[in-house]
Symmetry: C2
């Protein structure tokens, strides 16, 4: 990198504003989704995320390391979370066969039931706060622009 690269490296005020808007919108939407889950079901968004990721997984179970990555928590943070959810009977921790170190988190029937009770609230939020605000055409544009960042 040389000094003449400077011009290319600038972030314009317009670019910076869009970046900040992106961060703010993400935070605001997640706060709203969290507030609704807490208000109507006394549950956190992190718990919902764990239940939803397990439901999608083969045999409704995931390695703790894989689950941590999918819900974007540190391994130690996820361990604490899953321990509390296990106390409530929503997940079980099961040692992986033939692997002394590995653990799986498994969705229980009670966990499935809890997800079924809460998903309406969560989906309503996603629609009301985000995707329901766009027409079909706009939604396609949003997808296209997001994919540009997803490369």
């Amino acid at each position: 990198m040389t000094a003449t690269d400077g011009a290319d490296l600038r972030v314009t005020p317009e670019q910076l504003e869009v970046w900040r808007l992106f961060i703010r919108v993400h935070a605001r939407v997640l706060r709203r989704l969290e507030a609704d889950l807490q208000e109507y079901h006394g549950m956190s968004l992190a718990w919902y995320d764990v239940l939803a990721r397990l439901l999608e997984a083969d045999e409704r179970r995931l390695r703790m390391t894989e689950l941590a990555e999918r819900v974007m928590l540190s391994p130690s943070g996820l361990t604490r979370l899953v321990d509390r959810m296990a106390d409530d009977g929503l997940v079980r921790r099961v040692q992986a066969e033939g692997d002394g170190r590995g653990y799986f988190a498994v969705l229980t029937d009670a966990g499935y039931e809890r997800l079924r009770e809460t998903s309406g609230t969560h989906l309503r939020g996603i629609r009301e706060y985000v995707v329901g605000r766009f027409s079909d055409d706009e939604l396609r544009t949003v997808a296209e622009l997001l994919k540009r960042v997803d490369e």
Copy 2:
């Protein structure tokens, strides 16, 4: 709400895909920004955020409660973070005058210097991973669509 509202409450597969793309893109970008700060400066994005929010603030200081909100951390999480940053000399904690309970976090000269050293890396990431991927026209469209969600 009645049963006939059902149709309006549906989240279509296209909508759900856009929602998931939004969450994934946000996570991916933040992971990249974090990785760059760690690799080049051995600093976390959370530390960068604290320094940047303090620099923007009047007199380079913020109440801990206000700072927690701006960097989207729990009060206890922020306290731990600020304690570690204070050990490194990047911020100071100062008791609010006439308010036995309140504390401010204040940016130190060393903290300002650290921000100056690291901001090039951070801004380069914002440009390279996000805003630099759009033309001026597209950037205006992105802003417009994000503002729809920011209401």
